[in-house]
Symmetry: C2
């Protein structure tokens, strides 16, 4: 049995609990929280401890699955965990991955541990598609479209605007762009041409809606480069119609093998629950961390380093007999 | 530079030549043929030698890319090549892979070589999808659909019927089955419900077309379990409209993360040229064989054993900085 600890119990931690519960080769030692342990009730009934108690579990846990956020939580805490434990996380700030990698790699190697970073669907499954597709079709171009789905970062950005009580933002791929890419046109697409942004906003009573809408649409990086629509709705409507955590997306690469012939590869996801799927991916990769650690490997790794057989729930050396 | 030899110059050998020509880190030592070398003219202008001269190139070639067929050619010849060379092949008789693996593994290990088997799109890219999807969504079911595209094996089977001059057979996935799978229904599908078979046949003058059609439709394994349509056409029409080697297909897995939530994963290919794409995949994996051999690995391997970073044309340890 692979003994795991789950750090954090938000949407993602809940998703990991569900995935660990489905995996017959896993045993959960406990969920570790920064909150009062008695206030956290994992859906799977796992024991809950304070993160401060983690050092006591050194040697008792094969892999820690880190379910904190990428903005502040993981950068501040992973280095500490990796001194005592193998870890897997979903760090998803693409631009900061090299820096995060360097910092952790040194600590992981010094302490003889594995830290597998940036696991999930993007980065993660989509990254594997980009690498595989690009390697087998070098004379081509790839495109990643996200959505339709909620972007937590963009929803948070709207919530920080004065007069906004609550908000949900959907990233929506543009059909016209998808069609052109799927036709193998390999178009140059601006940010605006690839995705639209649709915002559902609950304004505080008496707030200036015209100003709020203007502030959203003109917000640099987040919205100003996109076609953005803003709908003001009630808190009740938001709760009733926008509580789902569905998401999805597609990686598409079209490449030429000769001047006459093009080949088109696509990997797509349609998710009812973004955090439940991400939790499933983290769990499968925790299995790989366990196996690689048993083989004596150490240091920081990404999905690009891991032979896929190590994700297989049964004997990895036999996977080729049924799945190849 | 990675020095490769290409064994065989049929459709697949031609595809490999084109892919090697596009790869800046590859150098082709030569194409090796069983025909008279002077009768073979590779599209890329590579030198041509007799396969009998291969032993002279021992130590001069990093990887041999084997482009023979799976029915008789690869089973008869790979063991001989692997004594002197690292190899990559596209052995695709799924049921016989374990036997092929065992036989070659011993020889590869004894001679300190790597033999990477069953590389292409199925087995190959589609196998990776089945393994990845199954591991991250264990509570689900996967489906592989092939086509629309020409099946060489089925076309050959028709050509062996008395009175048939030429024939092309298309495997066609059934839209209704695809729709049900994409809706996440996880249906039980019979062979007949998944694919149809469409045959274009050139009959010899005076041949009994009714008998030919009956023999096709009743042929066990190949056609009797399928909805099969037979069209008799002229040799000119066959050449004009059925000379393309287009193919494609999709691996779909739908799985539950909870009773309420399903996640749907799909990997699809749409190929103008099946052999050119397969040649590109073989070439990318030849790069991986070269790199793993440099690291001291030996024995028979499949795509499940290879970290995807080793396919990357540039520094594999840096791939995560741009593609993750």
């Amino acid at each position: 049995m692979i003994k795991v600890g789950i750090v954090g119990y938000g949407n993602l931690g809940r998703g990991v609990c569900l995935a660990v519960d489905k995996a017959e080769d896993f045993e959960c030692v406990g969920v570790f929280t920064r909150r009062q342990p008695e206030t956290v009730k994992p859906i799977t009934g796992y024991k809950v401890y304070s993160v401060n108690d983690l050092p006591k579990f050194k040697g008792e846990i094969d892999v820690l699955i880190l379910c904190g956020g990428s903005a502040t939580d993981l950068p501040a805490t992973t280095a500490g965990y990796i001194k005592d434990f193998n870890t897997v996380d979903s760090f998803d700030t693409h631009a900061k991955i090299p820096e995060y990698f360097e910092k952790l790699d040194k600590i992981a190697k010094e302490n003889g541990k594995i830290g597998l970073i940036s696991v999930g669907w993007d980065p993660g499954v989509f990254s594997l598609a980009r690498l595989l597709f690009g390697s087998v079709l070098p004379d081509g171009k790839d495109y990643t479209f996200w959505g339709k789905g909620v972007s937590q970062g963009h929803s948070d950005a709207i919530r920080r605007i004065k007069g906004v009580k609550n908000a949900i933002q959907y990233t929506v791929p543009k059909e016209d762009a998808l069609t052109r890419v799927r036709n193998g046109e390999n178009p140059e697409l601006s940010v605006r041409e690839k995705h639209a942004r649709e915002c559902f906003v609950v304004a505080e009573e008496g707030a200036d809606r015209t100003r709020i809408e203007k502030e959203i649409k003109e917000m640099p990086n987040y919205f100003s480069d996109y076609d953005t629509t803003v709908h003001f709705i009630s808190e009740e409507e938001l709760k009733a119609n926008h509580g789902k955590l569905a998401h999805g997306g597609v990686v598409i690469r079209s490449g030429k093998t000769t001047d006459e012939n093009s080949e088109l590869l696509q990997l797509s996801l349609k998710l009812d629950s973004n955090p439940e799927f991400t939790g499933s991916v983290l769990t499968a990769y925790a299995r790989a961390v366990y196996r690689l650690y048993k083989k004596g490997e150490t240091g920081v790794k990404t999905v690009f380093d891991i032979p896929l057989k190590y994700l297989y729930p049964l004997d990895p050396e036999q996977a080729f007999k049924t799945l190849l």
